[in-house]
């Protein structure tokens, strides 16, 4: 039976999982969850993810939430097909992949998601305007993170070494949305980061997922 992903392709966290499934050439079924109608807060959904968020993965009798736990599971279960996303053959290389995945989770994600939330999500909710102070503060943090990336990507083609892994993949959906804002210069002004991003968004798996990333930002 094919894996089921509950969610909507416009969600960055869902897209993270879909990218992984495509890279691993794994069949799946996307079960739509209407986020605007708050179906992810209904009891039937909360029984799958008590935090009321997408994505959720079902694989036979396994139900899993947290997009990065899901990608790790898919990458491990199907380690012998598609792209090697974890460098599973060498424990040290696997650890380096995990290291840069943690960097995405702790350093990159909080800053970029705060900016995306203000510039894309808040306007959709209708009542408030983007908080310029929050955007400013997080752009500064993001800039410092991207400085570290710029140096790292001067030494290696991808974050964890010479091949594309989960460490790169996890970044893709939020960078895609970020590049649609008026702050894309943070990436474009850093030549190594820019080249890395251009590589990531030219991958066939990404070209399958990007049509679903449909939320447009309010530029300021």
């Amino acid at each position: 039976m094919a894996m089921k992903v509950y969610g909507d392709g416009m969600s960055a966290c869902v897209a993270r999982v879909l990218l992984c499934l495509h890279e691993k050439e794994t069949e799946f079924e996307l079960v739509p969850v209407d986020l605007f109608a708050c179906h992810h807060k209904l009891p039937s959904f909360l029984s799958m993810n008590p935090f009321g968020q997408v994505p959720v993965l079902q694989d036979d009798d396994l139900t899993l939430f947290e997009s990065r736990a899901i990608t790790a599971y898919i990458a491990d279960k199907h380690k012998d097909k598609g792209t090697d996303l974890t460098r599973h053959a060498d424990a040290k290389e696997t650890a380096i992949v995990k290291l840069w995945s943690e960097v995405e989770s702790h350093h990159f994600n909080p800053a970029v998601s705060a900016v995306i939330h203000q510039l894309i999500v808040v306007p959709l909710q209708g009542e408030k305007s983007p908080d310029a102070a929050i955007v400013e503060e997080n752009l500064e943090k993001l800039g410092k993170v991207l400085d570290v990336y710029e140096e790292r990507l001067g030494k290696t083609k991808y974050l964890a070494g010479d091949s594309y892994t989960l460490a790169d993949l996890h970044h893709v959906p939020y960078i895609y949305y970020f590049m649609k804002t008026s702050h894309a210069g943070l990436v474009n002004d850093r030549p190594n980061v820019k080249a890395w991003w251009e590589d990531l968004c030219s991958r066939p798996a990404f070209l399958k997922v990007s049509p679903g990333l449909t939320i447009a930002p309010v530029t300021n």
């Binding site: 396994l62 899993l64 947290e66 736990a69 599971y73 650890a95 140096e151």
Partner: protein, 213 residues
């Protein structure tokens, strides 16, 4: 050769790694990086950890930072030694990962600023943001209700056994429990039961002794 851990034994992220090494009965040496004098921001340490934080490890030629990546590496490398922290099957491992990721996205994101305001800022003579603390407490209460529910039908976060999912929470929880908002845990019966059980483990007791608590 012994693992070298660069960090301060009282800091939460180095403690995450130390707790893992203790559970796995792996020998280590701590190289003290003094956070009070911002040693972690100096060029020598930035070579080990470009974000200027602790911990970082050196194990022969192998270098790593990010406490959760380090803990996972040693839990995997020494899977046959000490406590099994990763789960027994692929599916169980995924559930362990799931709750370990919950620690990052839901728990730490609230507890870190709480500890910063209630413990660290006073120590540095800075003013605590009382309004923020109130806001974070409310949000943390909602999250801990979910944990409490999970622990009503599971002995530990990912099932019947102590795993990385529990371990990864413990250092920050330790700080939280030493503040005057610890009722947020104590008043939730299942969370309280879980906390008593995980802190009774010998590895935790050793760590607390090393940290002088």
């Amino acid at each position: 050769m012994v693992v070298k851990l660069y960090g301060q034994v009282t800091a939460a992220c180095p403690q995450r790694v130390l707790l893992c090494l203790l559970e796995k009965e792996i020998e280590f040496e701590i190289v003290h990086i003094d956070l009070d004098t911002l040693e972690q921001k100096r060029p020598e340490h930035l070579l080990r950890q470009p974000f200027g934080q602790v911990p970082a490890i050196e194990d022969g030629d192998f270098k790593l930072f990010e406490s959760r990546a380090i803990a996972r590496y040693y839990a995997t490398k020494y899977s046959d030694q000490g406590t099994n922290l990763l789960g027994k099957s692929l599916e169980h491992r995924a559930i362990v990962d799931q709750w370990a990721d919950v620690e990052v996205g839901y728990f730490n994101v609230l507890v870190h600023p709480l500890v910063m305001n209630l413990v660290i800022k006073p120590r540095l003579g800075e003013e605590c943001d009382a309004a923020l603390v109130e806001e974070l407490k409310v949000k943390l209460g909602v999250v801990l209700d979910i944990y409490d529910n999970q622990l009503a039908s599971n002995r530990f976060l990912a099932g019947d056994e102590f795993t990385m999912a529990d371990l990864t929470h413990m250092p920050a929880m330790g700080y939280l429990m030493r503040t005057d908002i610890n009722r947020i845990v104590k008043d939730r019966a299942n969370m309280n039961r879980w906390w008593e059980e995980v802190t009774a483990r010998p590895a935790w007791k050793k760590l607390m002794k090393m940290a002088g608590f």
